[in-house]
């Protein structure tokens, strides 16, 4: 029996998005693509990193389908992580 139905899932799409975003963040880290200096690039890298974390949580860890209290806890973690990392990067 083909395994296609097993791998045809939103998590597979999430995997492809994560790979693409990894390449994007690497590009931002390796080159000053925007021409605005390292600060802008670094803030974008942090935002994409937290977005990737959220994708892993929702689609790999299946928190998308978890009870709302658990999903909200994770969403709260992502928001707090983004705020703390951004503030510490800018003012730490």
């Amino acid at each position: 029996m083909t395994m296609m139905p097993l791998v045809r899932t939103r998590a597979s799409m999430a995997y492809l998005v994560l790979i693409a975003l990894t390449v994007v963040t690497w590009s931002f880290g390796a080159h000053d693509i925007l021409g605005h200096g390292h600060v802008t690039a670094s803030l974008i890298i942090l935002a994409i990193a937290v977005f990737k974390v959220r994708i892993v949580g929702l689609y790999f860890m299946e928190l998308r389908d978890a009870p709302s209290w658990l999903r909200m806890l994770f969403e709260g973690y992502c928001v707090a992580e983004l705020v703390v990392l951004t503030v510490m990067y800018l003012f730490g």
Partner: protein, 206 residues
Amino acid sequence: MVTRNAAAHPVLGSGESISARVRHVPGEPGLWIFLFGDLFIFSVLFTAYLNERGNNADEFAAAQGHLERTTGIINTFVLLTSSILVVFATRAVRDERWRHHSSGLFVAGAAVGACFVAIKGVEYHGMISAGLTPSVGNFYMWYFVLTGIHLAHVILGLLVLMCLSRLARNAASSATRIAIVEGGACFWHVVDLLWILIFSLIFLVR
């Protein structure tokens, strides 16, 4: 998808309609205290790292230039690929049609994950050979602390995946067994998730 007994679940792999989904906590609820605790501890470490970086910006920027970003991005691909294999393995264990693939998928996930350890070993060897040790400066101290603690998580996660592969060999499946598999898989995904942040902070953010 998230039914505990997907044998009675007609939609596995055919889209994930809301009506067919049963909301549940992946793994055992108590596990999430440990997982969020782990995430919190790493968040404290990240905060301390950025604070130290702010106090020694020039030193950190110069030292960061000696890191090999290519190994960092390869290791990111490695962990993401391992994670998706573990996702497939977890889906397989829920459905008797695919359960016989589950153990092999966990082994494949662990094998790919083991590449992370090998690549990190090569990276450490190269840095230490070049004299870039924790005693050289604050950046390298933080580099080895953050990546070292994470590496310990990877090794523990690989052991968990091997245990799950043994567990998945059993043809029968129970709610408890599925919960254990889900919990172990979630730990491995946390390992992946933490590396995404470490890679960005240590290798990319300048």
